[in-house]
């Protein structure tokens, strides 16, 4: 071609019919986004008007676009606007955008941020309006407000409900992480809201395109939260179980303050190594991870959950470990199938029911049954006996740890005791304090099958001996089995001039407490066995006193204080996980404000060690008299009952 020029920029021919007189190649280059990066303007700025809304402030930036806070004046309303990033191919990301819009339009749920409307700026830049969520990421919220562990699990369950809703509509979030779950307070209650279904993929329904992931975009997600299948080379078959994995990571982080794999380490290792770690390396269990933290970090984490460090580790160990690890299984077939399954297991855990994630053993089930049941019992002392396997002494001791819970006055306690010779009526219950013991009562009656049904026997103990002022030096040999209860030495607690009849004896399952209650006297014993927890019951009257430092309780939120000096109990209402000790000076009111409880409860702690049930020694030629003969409302002697 004669007279053709060349492009000064790229040197190509510049024919006379070149489009617009420009070099066609250079024009095409523009389509490939080869640009001088030096001048990259911020396209939207505060004060810009989009539709009826005015941009106020940028509040976020994602892989796809920026999020602004915007307001309109008539009527006054504040929303969040998400705008597709300028400079990205509008058409290419249009598909993704449209998918998000389509997906969100299907959902209407209190835990999912609402999408109000969509539109395009006059430049053709798509946007949509969504509910402005004035919240902070869930992990930040929990740590800042020192949310207790059980309440974190409650919050997590709410998140699960939202995600489940989305799954039912065929939408997978694919990017669940703390920054996408914002917690706000609605009427004083913490409500998590899930935002940014940005790379959501509809499991059904027509979408414009599926193949939108490049290698780089894959890693727009937080690597610590990425599921093994997301970290794989083919992204297309991510399903609801990927979201479950993410929820597992969230649970892990909420309970330990750490993610299963550290983000920084993942990124530093490079993409290939990151992939391999996520897909192949087994993370530590939450309780294990906690125990390996440095002391300072561990204390902080525990404090943020209102627990002492060892208690927190204990809290996580077992069921919660299993639940979290089931979510984090590399093989997604082994995870929960639905988010609902996960939520149900968390709920089961919180209600002391067996969880699916844990292989059920007889002992485990029994423990749960025991802890959970709140049996409306008669005003009698029942001890359920479990005629389990023929037990040796040690094993039988363990059996006694399977104690039923007692919740409300005037309910009583149930203890499982295995009487080797299957003659429960030969047994007596003793209280022990220090080296001193006192007879609590004799077994008086078998009253039938216990609440566990089948193998349990219920035995009533007569505790009229309780009224004895002198504790005496009853030397109770450890001939039988059972547990020994220490009772406070102070005689005041024992004196009771009224005819009390049968005491109510309370023992709790997995408890450190065994209490006897009547109108005037409260005495508490507790069991010294592992993981035993204190019992609660209602108390009609309350004591207030200056109490001294006292020791504590358990696993689930009941607390009381015993003022050794005044032999008085102070009633607390509290609900939190374990505490080791409480400073004196705090009054009940303080506690009541700080900790919420579902129902009024009173909690006893004590320094009582254990209770023992013994039977008369075989050496005595004469067997103990028939227990019923010991029942005299007034002045029964205890001599005959002595082993």
């Amino acid at each position: 071609m004669s007279g053709s020029k060349t492009c000064p920029k790229c040197g190509a021919d510049l024919p006379p019919d070149a489009p617009g007189g420009y070099c066609a190649r250079c024009l095409l280059q523009l389509g490939l986004g080869i640009e001088n990066p030096a001048v990259v303007p911020v396209v939207e700025k505060s004060g810009d008007q989009i539709g009826r809304y005015k941009l106020i402030q940028q509040i976020g930036e994602g892989g796809m676009g920026t999020v602004w806070m915007a307001e309109q004046h008539h009527p006054y309303r504040r929303v969040a606007i998400k705008l597709v990033k300028i400079g990205l191919d509008t058409r290419q990301f249009l598909a993704r955008f449209q998918a998000e819009q389509q997906a969100l339009a299907l959902m209407d749920h209190p835990n999912i941020a609402k999408v109000y409307d969509t539109g395009a700026t006059d430049k053709g830049r798509p946007y949509f309006f969504m509910e402005l969520v004035p919240g902070i990421p869930i992990t930040t919220y929990c740590n800042r407000e020192n949310v207790a562990a059980r309440e974190r699990l409650d919050l997590l369950m709410k998140v699960c409900v939202g995600i489940q809703h989305a799954h039912e509509k065929g939408v997978i979030h694919r990017d669940i992480k703390p920054s996408n779950i914002l917690v706000t307070k609605v009427d004083g209650e913490a409500v998590p809201k899930i935002i940014d279904f940005g790379i959501a993929k509809a499991a059904q329904g027509k979408l414009v395109d599926e193949t939108l992931f490049t290698a780089i975009e894959q890693f727009l997600g937080t690597p610590a939260y990425m599921s093994p299948e997301q970290a794989g080379l083919t992204v297309s078959d991510v399903d609801v179980r990927s979201d479950i994995y993410n929820l597992g990571v969230l649970m892990y982080e909420l309970l330990t303050g750490q993610t299963p794999f550290d983000s920084k380490e993942l990124l530093a290792a490079g993409i290939e190594e990151m992939r391999r770690t996520i897909r192949e390396k087994e993370p530590a269990k939450p309780s294990t991870r906690l125990s390996k933290l440095l002391a300072g970090e561990l204390t902080t984490t525990a404090r943020q959950q209102r627990m002492e460090a060892p208690k927190l580790i204990h809290f996580l160990r077992g069921d919660l470990d299993c639940i979290a690890m089931k979510c984090l299984e590399k093989n997604r077939k082994r995870r929960y199938e639905t988010v609902n399954g996960l939520a149900m297991d968390i709920k089961s855990f919180l209600e002391y029911k067996p969880i699916v994630a844990r292989p059920p053993s007889h002992l485990y089930r029994l423990q749960k049954l025991v802890r959970r049941n709140r049996l409306p019992l008669t005003a009698a002392i029942l001890i359920a006996l479990s005629l389990l396997l023929g037990a040796y002494w040690q094993q039988t001791r363990l059996m006694l740890t399977h104690l039923y819970d007692l919740v409300r006055f005037p309910e009583v306690v149930i203890a499982e005791v295995n009487f080797r010779d299957k003659q429960p009526l030969n047994y007596s219950a003793y209280g022990y304090v220090g080296k001193q013991s006192a007879l609590i009562g004799n077994a008086v009656e078998e009253t039938g099958a216990g609440p566990a049904g089948g193998n349990a026997l219920v035995v009533k103990f007569d505790t009229s001996y309780f009224t004895k002022p002198e504790i005496g030096n009853q030397d109770v040999g450890e001939s039988g089995f059972g547990m020994v209860v220490n009772v406070p030495a102070s005689a005041d607690n024992w004196v009771n001039t009224t005819n009390l009849g049968l005491y109510k004896l309370y023992v709790t399952a997995k408890t450190t407490g065994l209490a006897v209650h009547d109108c005037d006297v409260e005495i508490q014993w507790h069991f010294l066995t592992h993981g035993i927890r204190i019992l609660t019951m209602d108390l009609a009257t309350r004591f207030t006193t200056n109490y001294q430092t006292f020791s504590y309780v358990l696993n689930d939120g009941y607390l009381d204080a015993f003022d050794g000096g005044n032999s008085q109990w102070t009633n607390f209402i509290s609900h939190f996980s374990e505490i080791n000790s409480v400073q004196c000076g705090l009054n009940a009111g303080h506690w009541r404000d700080e900790y919420r409880l579902d129902q009024p409860s009173v909690l006893y702690i004590s320094n009582v060690k254990f209770v023992r049930l013994t039977r008369p020694a075989r050496v005595k030629p004469a067997r103990s008299p028939v227990p019923s003969a010991n029942i005299h409302p007034a002045g029964a002697t205890n001599a005959s009952a002595m082993p």
Partner: protein
């Protein structure tokens, strides 16, 4: 909430993907989409047919007939089996058409096929004369023309946008910056002429380029089955122009 299937034209699926879906959606919509595409890209077909050896008059007739034939429903029914790009599809279809319909040329001249697309045949021939000499095969010429047609279309759109936004003067001034390197002196000159700060001018030039790039990609996306193929198409056209 707007209809998520896309009432807003910015959100519609691309024309070519609509055509590809012709088997599943109503043919009316697909036909309209195809027509729209044909209206834009008829010239490369003309150039192709012309280069194949027809004289101007014949080429015009053939082109006309081709598009008439194309926009019949039967063609649409066959379309969705191919998942290729519109450009290739059109070329293949035109090639096939010429092969099959060659002997029907005469009857077309005689008969009165009603015009579905009005082609500006004078302009077409004018354009054609400017094409490079016979060095290019018809197919290459077709691709080259396709690229130019595309770019012209995008340029026109870009200008339209600026005019609509009352920025015609800005566009006129800055358009050399679309492809050329802009020296600092030039920025300064433009700034003075437009009564803007130099920084604002830089931003404006950047936006111009960006917007062209976006529109270009959008235009190409309209003719490929999926947005993922836009880059590939650009590269193909790039190679087609290198002559």
């Amino acid at each position: 909430m707007k209809d998520v299937t896309g009432k807003n034209p910015d959100f519609t699926t691309t024309n070519w993907s609509v055509v590809l879906e012709a088997g599943k959606t109503d043919y009316g919509r697909a036909a309209r989409a195809l027509e729209e595409l044909c209206v834009r890209y008829w010239y490369p077909v003309y150039a192709f047919i012309r280069r194949r050896g027809s004289d101007p008059h014949e080429a015009k007739d053939l082109t006309q007939a081709f598009f008439t034939h194309l926009l019949k429903n039967e063609t649409l029914k066959k379309v969705d089996r191919q998942k290729g790009k519109f450009r290739s599809f059109l070329l293949t279809a035109a090639t096939n058409f010429l092969t099959n319909e060659w002997d029907k040329r005469q009857s077309l001249k005689r008969g009165g096929q009603h015009q579905v697309i009005s082609l500006d045949d004078t302009a077409a021939e004018e354009l054609y004369r400017q094409e490079p000499a016979a060095a290019l095969t018809p197919e290459n010429l077709y691709d080259r023309r396709w690229a130019f047609t595309l770019l012209n279309e995008v340029l026109a759109r870009l200008k339209e946008e600026y005019v609509a936004a009352n920025k015609e003067e800005l566009f006129a001034k800055l358009q050399p910056g679309l492809v050329d390197e802009v020296s600092p002196g030039l920025y300064a000159a433009w700034a003075a002429a437009l009564n803007m700060s130099e920084g604002a001018v830089r931003v404006a030039v950047h936006r111009l380029r960006r917007r062209f790039g976006e529109l270009l990609r959008g235009e190409i996306a309209d003719t490929v089955p999926s947005p993922a193929e836009v880059d590939e198409e650009i590269r193909h056209l790039f190679a087609a122009i290198a002559s």
